[in-house]
Symmetry: C2
Subunit: 229 residues, 2 copies
Amino acid sequence: MTSRVQSVLNEAEYIVGYKTYIDLIRNFLTHQQVVATGMRQEIDRCREAIRLAGEGHRVAVVSSGDAGVYGMAGIIIECLEQEGLLELPLEIVPGVTAASAAASMLGAPLMHDFAVISLSDLLTPWEVIEKRVRLAAEGDFILAIYNPKSLGRTQHIETVRELLLTYRHPYTPVGLVREALRGEESNVQITNLADFTNYPIDMLTTVIVGNSQTRIVGSYMVTPRGYKL
Amino acid sequence: MTSRVQSVLNEAEYIVGYKTYIDLIRNFLTHQQVVATGMRQEIDRCREAIRLAGEGHRVAVVSSGDAGVYGMAGIIIECLEQEGLLELPLEIVPGVTAASAAASMLGAPLMHDFAVISLSDLLTPWEVIEKRVRLAAEGDFILAIYNPKSLGRTQHIETVRELLLTYRHPYTPVGLVREALRGEESNVQITNLADFTNYPIDMLTTVIVGNSQTRIVGSYMVTPRGYKL
């Protein structure tokens, strides 16, 4: 958590967010009123936050990771637009996105160009996602895959694996990080492209697939930037 | 800066880094010895940090943004490998990478899949970079472009603009953020694909190019995630 996030939370009268994320910051809250809502209620959360802000309150809407990467920042602005309230003061406070958090626990896999792709097809047609995976593979991008799997969506990651195997070596390093940087909850696994779907993967996992240069160095996964040592 | 970075700096005996980045954190330093080196002396910095750590000192090597994205994390591990010192304790502390920092000042451009590409050809052949830009454009990825221009390298960003214009509308929003989140030093500009190279761009600028869905909402640049409001 950045110092700016801490000061924004301290100054807020209301904290609005998905209850799982609110629970992650309970220890930082003192006087604030909490508005916690369930999964997939993003629009309700925005409307409630905007209603409170419209009444003159200081409101903080929380996301996990970086609110600016698949987080709440966009829908807040879209709701403000729809309600004709774009002049309300808004600060978007960036955070450490899951790709960076996961990478830090694996070593240094993101030292070169990378693509961030979510496999969630709730809001995006699967054909678009699949096309992006294929093009990222062709471009030898490192991949940071968000939302790799959920209870109702288990095959996409297998399709991605097969697709990537047509471009990359089966021994290409793959890192799996579950609940990155959440203390004892965190789980880290370094494996390879052929095998990685045999390990537990769920919606709290970030999958980082190396490019053609990525290698295992001791206990680390590293993509060399290209320095001559 | 995250609270973890603050505590690591506090616990360090030595701070090693590029002098421009050291200057950014001078106010946070008290007792630490500083080893500041010039640009492009990454390998020297690593060797010095490893030498000090090998003597038993607590050493912090600093990067700007996230050390795990085009930063010092990878070369440190490679140097440790070369010197046979991979067992030295190492913690990689992630930060807010320039894409996230810049996005937060523009609105919410990174709400969907994006590609992070550096235009620096010091360590990467230009053909590889150009191919990645083309594939990212074809995949309708948002682009976060690092190192878009330097004194000796001014044409690449023009080539990128022309390439992107073959895939995207000239009015595609483009955000330019110089020295993101560095207080009064920061400079933010929202423009479009046709015009953006007419604005000042240098190596401290991050360029964010929208995808086919990105639009200007009031004073913000937003890529809708796809929610139906």
